[in-house]
């Protein structure tokens, strides 16, 4: 008799498998009028459709007392490969945000857009509206390839066009094939209860998709704005003149970890070789498939590609990729990064067009007393003939402005106070924060709502030290999962509990080295008092051109962070 083997796969794996290609009972759940939520299982599946079930955490306790369920609402993430968005698409999004999402839009740290606070009964209308604007939310979340990033640098317009093209091809190639998305959200060929007319197929993913999320980014040296090493799969463009000839391939980056669990850690990707440019999509598929077949499916906390590599060895993983490809990668080519930040203000590209990079604090686009960002961008989208580009640092580029249009755009920028003048420190311009409270279910502490206030206090220290114009990257997240890539910031602040943060120091300015834990569970006063002497000393003792992250390592505040596993060492 056969011994039954014990199925150790995690709950989510079973949910995926039983979901009939991501359908689950989403249609029934959306129609249930008794709750603003959906079932726990469907809440897992809806991620693949680009949405998260959330609730307004500010109201949680109050509503519990009121015998009301939590104020359930949905987040919808719109995919923008490479962060490119037409003015028409922006106007459509703006309209949807106005009607269903509290008239605010968030630019993410992966060149996507998030709408929050959408009620269940308006979710279908929201997603259908997004699709009508020729955009999609499919695979914006979930255990699949997520939004593919590429450097938005508009000044290299010819190079950008090429890598953007690769970015689109990889994104399209790795998009799930299931028709569930169209059935549920767009009302196409609705299947009432029965089996679909023809069986769905997922030629790359299979029924259970990937073990965990999978992220791809393309960088063009010397700018590492996409934080290429923070991705499961990174491509570093090798450019000859204005021609992208190939890519260095880097694998195994990922930010997430868990407080108190040394088996979990952020990790930077390792460069394992080089491929010709036209093989980039092929390589993407192979890496995804190796992870599909060997990634850990029993423990979701150990399922990212970085752990698959560390469990099996980098050489083994590279060997598998080459086996799946049927050919070998070449040796990596030399490259050099010098920043992972954005360049602000106006710039002119070789084709004679103009580009304006606006600093968007934490990616939050809303109307505020001092600047009417959302109204301003709506007005600009009404006249702009180029594109919008979302940067991986949550900023926005109005790109492809003709010299004739430039004055008109400039006037609107002034009218709505979009450029913030010269009031902002270089520290603030190199800051990022995740969304966190009140919408994110994972948040342990504030982030987006809090970092601007903390920066005001830090700016006083910076100003006193005469460092107002010295760029230092600072990133905050409300939990250790790392959405704002806090472990590759020179100053990283990671939420531990309400009002308390772990302080990490010493990452490389170009995103080439992680930081290390410096102090644990600090409140605001402690954050300031810990940083003040270091900032003062940096002001007086730094070498010429030395970045803050390098300085704190040199002075021994932290040890240089070694790779992944040694992050906690």
């Amino acid at each position: 008799m056969d011994q039954p083997t014990r199925d150790t796969r995690s709950e989510v794996e079973h949910i995926k498998e039983a979901s009939n290609y991501l359908r689950g009972t989403l249609v029934e759940g959306l129609a249930d009028p008794i709750t603003g939520a959906i079932s726990e299982k469907d809440a897992q599946l809806i991620k693949f459709h680009g949405s998260y079930l959330q609730d307004d955490r500010d109201l949680r306790i109050e509503r519990q007392k009121q015998k009301l369920e939590p104020a359930y609402q949905f987040m919808v993430r719109v995919r923008f490969p490479g962060g490119v968005c037409t003015p028409q698409q922006w106007l459509a999004l703006n309209d949807i945000a106005q009607r269903h999402a509290g008239n605010t839009i968030r630019l993410t740290t992966r060149q996507s857009v998030q709408l929050h606070g959408i009620l269940k009964r308006e979710l279908r209308e929201t997603i259908a509206g997004i699709n009508r604007a020729l955009l999609t939310t499919i695979a914006a979340c979930g255990d699949v390839n997520r939004n593919v990033m590429c450097s938005p640098n508009p000044l290299q317009s010819r190079v950008h066009q090429q890598i953007y093209d690769y970015c689109l091809r990889a994104a399209a190639h790795l998009t799930p094939h299931t028709r569930a998305y169209h059935e549920i959200w767009l009302g196409d060929e609705l299947v009432a209860g029965g089996a679909p007319k023809e069986e769905d197929r997922e030629p790359i993913y299979g029924k259970t998709y990937l073990p965990r999320k999978f992220k791809i980014a393309i960088a063009v040296p010397p700018v590492n704005d996409v934080d290429v090493f923070g991705n499961d799969l990174g491509f570093i463009a090798i450019v000859d003149g204005e021609q992208v000839v190939g890519f260095n391939v880097a694998i195994g980056g990922g930010m997430g970890m868990i407080h108190g669990d040394p088996g979990s850690y952020p990790r930077l990707a390792d460069v394992i070789g080089y491929c010709a440019a036209e093989r980039m999509v092929e390589v993407s598929e192979a890496v995804a498939k190796v992870q599909r077949d060997y990634g850990n499916r029993s423990n979701r906390k150990h399922a990212r590609l970085k752990y698959t590599i560390d469990d099996h060895g980098l050489d083994w993983f590279k060997g598998e990729i080459e086996r799946y490809l049927g050919w070998k990668l070449d040796a990596a080519r030399p490259y050099q990064f010098d920043t992972n930040g954005d360049r602000y203000g106006w710039g002119e590209s070789a084709d004679g067009n103009w580009h304006l990079t606006l600093f968007i604090q934490n990616g939050r686009i809303a109307d505020r007393p001092d600047s009417s960002l959302i109204s301003g961008l709506r007005e600009i989208a009404g006249v702009h003939q180029g594109e919008f580009r979302f940067t991986p640092n949550q900023n926005l580029i109005i790109s492809g402005i003709t010299p004739e249009q430039k004055p008109a755009i400039e006037t609107l920028v002034q009218k709505h106070g979009l450029d913030g003048g010269d009031r902002r420190s270089a520290l603030r311009l190199h800051s990022m924060a995740c969304v966190a409270l009140p919408t994110c279910g994972l948040a342990l502490a504030e982030s987006e709502r809090y970092l601007p206030n903390l920066l005001v206090k830090l700016e006083r220290l910076i100003e006193d030290a005469g460092l107002t114009d010295v760029p230092i990257t600072i990133r905050m997240t409300g939990c250790p999962n790392g959405c704002a890539r806090p472990y590759i910031a020179e100053i990283g602040l990671v939420g531990k509990s309400l009002g308390k943060y772990n302080l990490y120091l010493g990452a490389g300015f170009a995103g080439e080295r992680m930081n290390k834990l410096y102090r644990e569970s600090l409140d605001e006063a402690e954050i300031l008092s810990e940083l003040e002497p270091i900032i003062r000393r940096y002001a007086s003792e730094r070498d010429s051109g030395e970045h803050f992250g390098d300085f704190v390592v040199r002075k021994g505040y932290v040890k240089p962070a070694a790779q992944g596993r040694d992050f906690h060492a």
């Binding site: 009028p33 008794i34 709750t35 603003g36 109201l59 949680r60 306790i61 109050e62 509503r63 519990q64 007392k65 009121q66 015998k67 009301l68 369920e69 939590p70 104020a71 009620l119 009964r121 407080h259 108190g260 669990d261 342990l444 531990k496 509990s497 309400l498 308390k500 644990e520 569970s521």
Partner: protein
């Protein structure tokens, strides 16, 4: 040693017993004593109450396992404890704390708790209510409860396992006996948790008293020991307010409150469907305004039916000072010498009088038709006695002994350029807080009662605060183990803010106490949808339920809702039965005659 002639055992039984006790340990002996006590109780019960099913004696002991979980760890431990306990022969009730009725706590004999701690010592969300309950004033004594707590936490936080500690300490303070000391687990909790599970199930097995010996029934009889209810509208009982919670969520256009009143010591007994009379007091600001408008002295002494009071006291507690009536206007007109008012009061001007009275109150009349030189004593002679306000009781006395819950909508509106306030409802909204006393009595309502046959299905139509008695109905139906199905129609303005008692309905649905619920939120969609629209959509099923003997109840607004619901009901019967309008009307009338269609509308 045993003397044979005194032992009522056979020789063989004696032999076995002696064998058993020979060399027995103290621990074993304790267990045997408990075992025999249980057997003895079961035998006694079987002999004296033969009506009870014999199987009751063999019913396994129950364990209740509660978990408060944020990440699912505590839930997993609770599940593991359940499997182990079931394997050991226990009957296990497993609940997320959020799904557990705190009122059940006092009946628990064996209680296992697995609970985590959030951030700087907070309970997980689903544990908040129970955590608050045991720390609150209405937490029961738990002398009969044996319990064990597994605390989950992260020792990198200052308040490590605080929530588990809270539960442990508070349960002990309430008199519960620990089965074993609490275990605090760190992030890597699995090993400690497994050991805890094994240990507590073993201890529970060792200490379990046979189920039948300690069975306690919810006993309304207990209240009959107290003096019979003699409270009335003229002699109300001073109930203490325990809870006053705003049910309407942020952004609601309404303010609906959940009120819990203690009837402890009153001997008051009520049934679902009964109302609670609340004897209110008038708004002191309005009293002051009246006194000022009349240019009177608030401290003037006026005579009451039984004794004396100041004018201010009298206007606050004894007289109706808002609602207009013809007798008031007639008496007041005589004092005020106002020709226009006299004219309005002429019999032929009835409709003009009505339209004048619409939206106006006593204060409007006094300002518009001043009466100079009258005394306080004269003025109060014009007024009606202050009337109690009746609220459908929103609780079952079986589930909430010594308590009554109310669902009160704060009445506030503006007419004729003036803000108006409902007398009693605004008292709850603005002036009465926990610990204050409210004079109350029960108004029994024989015409709004659950079917005596607990197998009969029940349909309840209660939009807005009309849902109050149905909360009592459902509590009662669950408590008595009614087998008939339950169907609720509820409606209000907005799903997000006005779904009164939403979490409770969800829990009843999950536990199949409530079998169906249909909701209508009038301001959420493009067109206004009300409960009668939902009834119409469910015509076939609704008629089928009636044909199956369902009892149908309507509570709430009399003017519009109840009338529309009635017409819809008749229409449904007509179309589903395929009969004439007359026959349908007769069918509905017959339901009323059979008391299968009852209404409590206002």
């Amino acid at each position: 040693m045993m003397r044979e002639q005194m032992v009522p055992l056979t020789e063989q039984q004696t032999e076995l017993l002696l064998q058993l006790v020979d060399g027995i340990s103290a621990e074993q002996l304790t267990w045997v004593k408990g075992y025999l006590a249980g057997v003895s109780a079961a035998v006694r019960r079987a002999e004296t109450t033969p009506a009870l099913p014999a199987t009751a004696a063999a019913e396994p002991s129950r364990i209740t396992i509660l978990y408060g979980s944020q990440t699912g760890h505590a839930a997993a431990v609770a599940e593991a404890a359940k499997s182990k306990a079931v394997a050991a022969g226990f009957k296990v009730d497993l609940y997320a704390m959020g799904d557990y009725k705190p009122a059940r706590l006092k009946n628990e004999k064996l209680l296992l708790i697995a609970v985590s701690t959030q951030g700087e010592g907070e309970p997980p969300d689903e544990a908040l209510e129970l955590h608050e309950f045991i720390h609150g004033g209405s937490a029961p004594r738990l002398e009969d409860t044996r319990y064990a707590v597994l605390a989950l936490g992260d020792s990198s936080y200052a308040q490590f396992c605080k929530c588990g500690r809270d539960f442990d300490e508070k349960l002990a303070a309430l008199g519960a006996q620990p089965l074993r000391p609490r275990v605090d687990c760190d992030v890597d909790f699995e090993t400690d948790a497994e050991a805890w599970v094994a240990d507590v199930v073993r201890l529970a097995t060792e200490t379990q008293a046979p189920a039948t010996a300690t069975e306690v029934r919810l006993a309304p009889a207990a209240t009959t020991l107290q003096k019979a209810a003699t409270w009335s509208r003229s002699k109300p009982f001073a109930a203490t307010l325990i809870e006053n919670i705003k049910l309407s969520g942020r952004g609601s256009a309404k303010e609906v409150r959940h009120i819990e009143l203690s009837l402890e010591g009153s001997g008051i007994h009520y049934e679902p469907g009964d109302s609670l009379g609340v004897v209110p007091q008038n708004d002191p600001e309005l009293v002051a305004e009246l006194v000022a408008a009349l240019d009177l002295d608030p401290d003037e002494t006026v005579a009451l039916k039984d004794g004396m009071a100041t004018l201010e006291q009298a206007l606050t507690r004894e007289y109706e000072i808002t609602t207009l009536s013809r007798p008031f206007l007639t008496k007041y007109a005589a004092l005020a010498d106002a020709g226009e008012l006299d004219k309005l009061l002429l019999p032929e001007n009835e409709s003009a009088l009505r339209s004048f009275m619409d939206g106006r109150e006593v204060i409007d009349v006094i300002i518009r038709f001043p009466a100079s030189g009258i005394s306080g004593a004269e003025f109060v002679q014009t007024l009606r006695r202050l009337q109690p306000r009746l609220y459908s009781i929103a609780s079952s006395g079986k589930v909430n002994p010594g308590m009554a819950h109310l669902t009160v909508a704060a009445v506030r509106y503006a007419t004729h350029g003036r803000n108006r306030k409902g007398v009693a409802s605004m008292q709850f909204s603005e002036r009465i807080t926990a610990g204050d006393q409210v004079p109350v009595y029960v108004e029994h309502n024989r015409n709004f009662k659950l079917p005596a046959d607990t197998a009969a299905p029940v349909i309840m139509i209660g939009p807005g605060t009309g849902v109050a008695p149905f909360r009592a109905f459902i509590e009662e139906r669950e408590a008595v183990g009614a087998t008939g199905d339950n169907w609720l129609f509820f409606g209000d303005q907005h799903f997000r803010t006005d779904f009164l008692y939403q979490r409770e309905w969800q829990r009843y649905l999950k536990n199949s106490v409530l079998n169906r619920i249909d909701v209508a939120f009038s301001r959420d969609g493009r067109s206004k949808t009300y409960v009668q629209h939902r009834m119409l959509e469910r015509s076939r099923d609704l008629y089928a339920w009636l044909q199956d003997g369902a009892h149908l109840y309507v509570c709430g607004d009399a003017d519009h809702m109840a009338r529309d619901v009635h017409a819809t009901l008749t229409g449904i019967v007509q179309s589903e039965a395929g009969c004439s309008a007359e026959a349908a009307t007769e069918y509905v009338r017959n339901l009323q005659r059979e008391k299968r269609y009852q209404r409590d509308v206002y």
